[in-house]
């Protein structure tokens, strides 16, 4: 669908560009308040230990120390991202009975400077009873393994006033040691379908723990004003979500907590949870009566915030002779670490990223999340999609080879199309998967590079540098029902004809401020430079779903469009009164309202606003809002996968071309050809940036990124030892958005910026196989694994 736009669809420069290239943009770490103290956190050096005693006397009497807190100060503050009757919250800002991983928070201090705070930490004496620890999720499920949470957590969920159930609705599964969550989803008749399949394969895949690596380390500033209001500046992705959790846990009214606007220096899912250091900054500020800043070190950011879940995946797939998928049985196990994090969510999401891509009528899915004494898993760009898409599309490549068909052709036989209804009831009103695959194949030179048959048996070049191509696909939601369930926007017209957009959105690099301002400008009929934006402050802006769950474009974007439409409606009504004509006779062009066909009968926006204020005493203020999912109960069932989930899915396909050095095992991503369906791109330059960023992170996670553990300790918690891509590894990029229009989104827009990461892993793995015939089923694809595969090949 082609629509003519004046602002939307143009590669306009970012509204935050000037402040960021001049160093003026303020991040949490830059906030400096009068009298501000510096906080530090005492962390467990043991993976599992009972706390027998904590003595803080010496620390408290150190000159310059203004407050010290321990688990005693947080005993009634249980919380977690998942907090339901089935999955009761399992975290406290500071440890109570036990420490459960290396880095677990024990105590916090606030002092006049960092050095004093550090000295105070050294003076805190902790007596431990060391307990046996467990690090592997399969060992953890054994009945004799140490139990990470041996406490029964009961009591209220903080979400009850928002409709969360007070009691568990369905029967619990059998209790298994250390199992924190379980998802079981079945539809169709998998057993019969497997029995009738021409070919059935079963394969096992493993993925590594990876780190978000936002360049801004985590930080929090807290200050309690004389009226008792708590002011906070946080590394956050959603101000309303964090405000609610912080207020509830600290037993405050929500409006007694205010989050102030700061720019966020990258998040990638890692700044969504509420963290102990954030609560500690607030509790220390309350106790000391002074502002407190806590900045985590890079090592703390690597090890004590959140990581991507290391995942074990078994897939059994049955297909027809032609490659149509008849049935799948997928089993996943994730290690969620010492606390649930989003363990019970990600095992639901694995299925969530499966159903929208290939149409599989017969499915059995089982996911299990497991507590161990390791760092905690949480959302990370794609949230489960990289793991499951790696497994599914690696296996698809293997099946295609078994059948002697082209994997891209096999994908095309199975992909979803417009109008498909997913098992949970979600409807695909836009779906460009077929176009994404076809264009990625075309532009990448797939046919030529794979050989005419497209099969993996195409002749491979000799020599020590071998090229190969691989393909993968993926999907991502455009917002899902979660607190606060909606976004709203306000558009205020000024008497010079410009406008202020007021939105609760957080700018963390994704370009939300620019994109939303463009939506407002397009709807109003003025230029982007005529829009100012007030964002990211709970006191000054309306409710916002947050910059997670990938609903920024569709949900918040539509709220902003509706707010601008409301302002425009008021403007036209006033202009019709003044110009003495019907609203229908008016048209807007570049900030001016005219009677259609009468350039002599016009008013500028400024003139309309001035007239309205002067004559009627009425300024023009538009408001709009959008519920995240128009027709849904509050939460889909994590345990059963039932319930609608999103209004629209974004889709992607990528062909990766790699070069494998058979002497060193080194894999280089040479070229990534990515076609994606984000509906109408709102700002193609920002969309491109999202795609490039995803490809880069996907490349890192496919090839080099892996947190290495030894007895629960992270051995590579620096950028020197944890290798994310540098500019040297940047691949050639090709591809663009396919022609698509999402009816539920503003101007046809939907998700971009999260899904793309997920297909890079299997695309690279399949390309490595195509290049040298080595199938790597565990990430990352290190030179050691490639060399071992080549060695095995030589030994026959």
């Amino acid at each position: 669908m082609t629509q003519e736009f004046k602002v939307v669809g143009k590669p306009l420069p970012r509204v935050d560009g000037y402040s960021k290239v001049t160093g003026q943009a303020e991040f949490t770490v830059d906030v400096d308040l009068p009298g501000m103290l510096h906080g530090k956190i005492l962390r467990s050096p043991h993976p599992h230990a009972r706390i027998l005693n904590i003595n803080t006397c010496a620390a408290e009497s150190l000159p310059g120390v203004k407050a010290v807190i321990t688990g005693r100060d947080t005993a009634d503050m249980r919380y977690a991202f998942v907090d339901t009757p089935r999955y009761p919250a399992d975290e406290y800002p500071l440890a109570q009975d036990k420490v459960r991983y290396i880095g677990d928070e024990l105590a916090a201090v606030a002092a006049v400077d960092l050095e004093t705070a550090q000295q105070a930490l050294d003076l805190i004496q902790v007596e431990y009873e060391i307990l046996p620890a467990v690090f592997d999720p399969f060992e953890a499920m054994h009945p004799d393994a140490p139990t990470v949470h041996d406490t029964q957590y009961e009591g209220r969920s903080i979400w009850e006033e928002w409709g969360a159930q007070k009691t568990r609705r369905s029967e619990a599964h059998e209790t298994v040691n250390n199992v924190s969550g379980r998802t079981v989803i079945t539809y169709g008749e998998p057993d019969e379908a497997f029995a009738s399949a021409y070919h059935v394969r079963e394969d096992h895949f493993e993925t590594s723990s990876t780190a978000h690596c936002a360049l801004e380390p985590h930080a929090a500033v807290a200050h309690v004003d004389p009226n008792g209001q708590l002011h906070m500046w946080l590394s956050t992705m959603g101000i309303y979500y964090k405000r609610y959790v912080i207020a509830k846990v600290l037993k405050m009214s929500t409006s007694q907590v205010r989050l102030h606007k700061v720019y966020v220096g990258g998040a990638f899912g890692g700044k969504m949870d509420v963290f102990p250091y954030e609560f500690c900054s607030a509790i220390l500020a309350r106790k000391s009566g002074r502002p407190v800043k806590i900045e985590l070190t890079r090592e703390e950011t690597f090890t004590t915030t959140r990581i991507r879940f290391p995942t074990y995946i078994d897939i059994k797939t049955g297909v027809t002779r032609e490659g149509k998928i008849l049935a799948q049985h997928i089993r996943t196990v994730v290690n969620n670490g010492a606390f649930m994090g989003t363990g019970p969510v990600v095992i639901f999401l694995f299925h969530g990223w499966t159903a929208p891509v290939y149409s599989v009528r017969n499915m059995r899915y089982e996911g299990v999340s497991v507590w161990t004494n390791t760092p905690v898993g949480g959302p990370q760009r794609g949230h489960g999609a990289p793991q499951i898409r790696f497994a599914i599309d690696s296996q698809l490549d293997m099946i295609a080879e078994d059948l002697g068909i082209d994997p891209a052709e096999m994908m095309l036989k199975n992909v979803r199309r417009i109008g498909d209804v997913l098992p949970n009831g979600d409807v695909l009103n836009s779906c460009g998967l077929t176009d994404c695959i076809a264009q990625a194949v075309d532009v990448s030179g797939w046919k030529k590079k794979r050989g005419e048959s497209g099969s993996n048996r195409a002749e491979r070049s000799n020599g020590t540098k071998r090229r190969g191509v691989g393909i993968s696909t993926t999907t991502m939601i455009s917002g899902a029902p979660y607190y606060p369930f909606a976004s709203a926007g306000i558009v205020k017209l000024d008497d010079d004809g410009s406008a202020t957009l007021i939105s609760g959105v957080v700018e963390m690099g994704q370009g939300a401020e620019t994109t939303l301002a463009m939506v407002a400008a397009e709807e109003l009929g003025i230029s982007l430079t005529d829009i100012r934006i007030v964002a990211g402050d709970t006191e000054q802006t309306p409710v916002d779903m947050g910059s997670f769950l990938s609903g920024g474009a569709l949900v918040t974007g539509d709220a902003v469009r509706l707010a601008a439409a409301d302002a425009k409606k008021q403007l036209l009504e006033i202009a019709s009164e003044r110009l003495d004509t019907l609203v229908e006779e008016l048209e807007i062009n570049d900030g001016t309202v005219c009677v259609r066909g009468r350039p002599d009968r016009c008013m500028t926006f400024g003139e309309v606003v001035r007239y309205s204020i002067k004559e009627n005493g009425q300024p023009i203020i538009g408001r709009g809002s959008r519920k995240i999912l128009t027709a849904a109960e509050h939460y889909p069932s994590l345990a059963k996968g039932t319930g609608r989930w999103t209004d629209a899915y974004g889709f992607n396909a990528q062909v990766a071309e790699v070069e494998v050095d058979t002497e060193t095992g080194q894999v280089t991503l040479v070229r990534a050809t990515t076609f994606h369906d984000c509906g109408q791109p709102l700002n193609p330059q920002i969309v491109d940036g999202q795609v490039y960023g995803c490809v880069s992170t996907g490349q890192g996670q496919a090839l080099t990124e892996e947190l290495i553990f030894e007895n629960g300790r992270v051995l590579n918690s620096t950028f020197a030892d944890y290798r994310l891509p540098t500019i040297l590894e940047t691949p050639e990029s090709a591809g663009e958005a396919v022609d698509s229009y999402e009816p539920a989104g503003p101007f046809g827009a939907k998700e971009v910026g999260e899904g793309v990461i997920a297909q890079t892993l299997a695309a690279i793995a399949n390309a490595v196989y195509n290049a040298v015939g080595v199938r790597i089923t565990s990430l990352p694809i290190t030179p050691e694994k490639v060399l071992a595969g080549l060695e095995e090949q030589r030994n026959g």
Partner: protein, 162 residues
């Protein structure tokens, strides 16, 4: 004990009393209050704290403030002249070479040095010149485009096409 140090930052002199173990990064941010220079790792690995010391890029987290004495220090705040952006700053905006903006000051300063040393670097030379600056958001593609656009020859081409 503190030492007296006189730092010349962006052409302005700051007389400061600083503890000898304080890094240039800390003193720039906390004493001089120029917070455009960012701390991404405090290990010299990420390049977010890059400043120019007598025109040469250094990771300011690895330089002691007292070693900045008698040297010209340029931070990101010193690049724009009378509100007019340096061509690299403008190019970063024009090419969408920034997202969260946390690594941007360091990248721009590293690129400035690169182009001063070699006004017409090849694409490969640009990559090597910026290899010490990590960015997680952009995947570097638009960063490469922005810096390439500031090569003297490319700049001339841009002028001609106008």
């Amino acid at each position: 004990m503190k030492l007296l140090v006189s730092l010349n930052v962006n052409g302005q002199t700051y007389d400061l009393a600083v503890a000898p173990q304080r890094t240039l990064l800390e003193v720039l941010r906390e004493n001089v209050r120029l917070t455009g220079t960012k701390c991404g790792c405090d290990d010299g690995d990420c390049g977010a704290c890059t400043v120019l010391l007598d025109g040469v890029p250094v990771t300011s987290c690895l330089v002691l403030a007292v070693d900045g004495q008698d040297k010209a220090i340029t931070t990101i705040e010193g690049l724009a002249v009378d509100g007019e952006l340096h061509p690299l700053q403008q190019a970063f905006i024009d090419y969408g070479a920034l997202q969260c903006g946390f690594c941007t000051p360091g990248l721009i300063l590293a690129a400035k040095y690169l182009l001063e040393q070699n006004p017409n670097p090849t694409d490969e030379e640009i990559r090597f010149g910026l290899a010490g600056n990590l960015c997680r958001c952009t995947g570097y593609v638009q960063v490469l485009e922005a810096v390439a656009a500031c090569r003297v020859n490319d700049g001339a081409a841009v002028q001609e096409s106008k």
